[in-house]
């Protein structure tokens, strides 16, 4: 067995994917090759080393920096980041409030529409004339009533 073949077996052994035949081949090679034996021992020690290792503690300065950069206030994660596109934000507005807002918008648009605004500035005969083009006979009858 050469080193390239052994390399593949090392991976398989460490991944627990060796067949019995491959395992026998590998240990046969290990018994005669000190280089590969050294490699196998080191690999197992590395694995043991990492398995016992704890993740590094994060410095508190990192937490503060990330909170500040992300727009978070420690303890209150309610603020939204300004970089989030508007069309992806979810608004929490109750249905009655939404209906009231729509109603106010509609009423407001009617109050300030150009037609009504124009009518409200007119008075008397001018208002009547401005309302609609009436046939002359109806206009005469209106004059008689006055």
């Amino acid at each position: 067995m050469n080193h390239e073949q052994f390399q593949d077996l090392v991976h398989r052994y460490l991944d627990e994917r060796l067949t019995d035949v491959q395992s026998a081949q590998m240990f046969e090679h290990l018994s005669v090759c000190s280089d590969c034996r050294n490699l196998m021992q080191s690999s197992l020690r590395i694995r043991s080393f990492y398995q016992q290792q704890e993740p590094e503690e994060v410095p508190s300065s990192l937490d503060r920096r990330v909170a500040a950069s992300a727009g978070l206030i420690p303890g209150t994660a309610q603020r939204r980041h300004l970089l989030v596109p508007l069309w992806t934000t979810r608004l929490s507005v109750s249905l009655p409030l939404a209906a009231s807002i729509i109603f106010l918008i509609l009423v407001g648009s009617l109050l300030f529409s150009p037609v009504l605004f124009r009518e409200s500035t007119l008075s008397g005969d001018k208002r009547i004339e401005s309302l609609s083009p009436m046939p002359p006979e109806i206009q005469e009858q209106l004059q008689l009533f006055r």
Binding site: S42, L72, H81, T89
Partner: protein
């Protein structure tokens, strides 16, 4: 507990609670990963900070949320190497980033095995420490490591073998002398 996929969906909607949850879940792993490559706590802190900012800004570009972890590590990896390269340009780093503390040859014979392995690991190339950390510490699959580093699975296996071999060579004198 919410899955990564659920948190990614919420983060896309702009919920900062999702950001906080993902940060809490991954900050130690990402910081450790950055530190294991760079051997510099200040650089690791900067890289981790930049990683989570990138995550927040570019979460909309992540099409498949099931690969979030690999995606996050890939960002971290880019940030670490970018900062290492920047420092190298500024003349603060030699060609190969290695431990500048006590050398193994000068260590006392009573050194604990774990300390010696850590010391020898610190003498490896950053790309070797990177692949060892991802495989042995984070226990990622070869496919995940390949997606992080942008290499093929066979390249990852080859680099992992070289890393193990390089470390074995550094540890060999201590085995032979029977110090550990």
């Amino acid at each position: 507990m919410q899955t990564d996929e659920q948190l990614v969906t919420d983060l896309r909607l702009g919920l900062t609670e999702a950001f906080a949850a993902l940060y809490t879940r991954y900050k130690r792993s990402i910081y450790s990963f950055c530190f294991n490559i760079s051997l510099d706590r200040f650089l690791a802190e900067d890289a981790t900070h930049d990683t989570f900012m990138k995550m927040q800004q570019h979460i909309h570009t992540l099409n498949d949320s099931s690969v979030f972890r690999s995606w996050l590590y890939a960002i971290a990896r880019n940030q670490v190497y970018k900062l290492l390269q920047k420092r190298q340009v500024n003349g603060k780093l030699s060609d190969e980033l290695v431990w500048d503390g006590p050398q193994p040859d000068t260590m006392m014979e009573s050194l604990e095995e774990r300390e010696l392995i850590a010391l020898c690991l610190n003498k490896l190339k950053p790309e070797y420490r990177e692949v060892l950390t991802l495989r042995e510490f984070e226990q990622l699959s070869y496919a995940e490591i390949a997606s992080i580093t942008g290499d093929s699975e066979s390249s990852v296996k080859s680099r992992l073998f070289k890393a193990r071999h390089a470390l074995a060579e550094k540890l060999r004198p201590y085995y032979q002398r029977g110090e550990i």
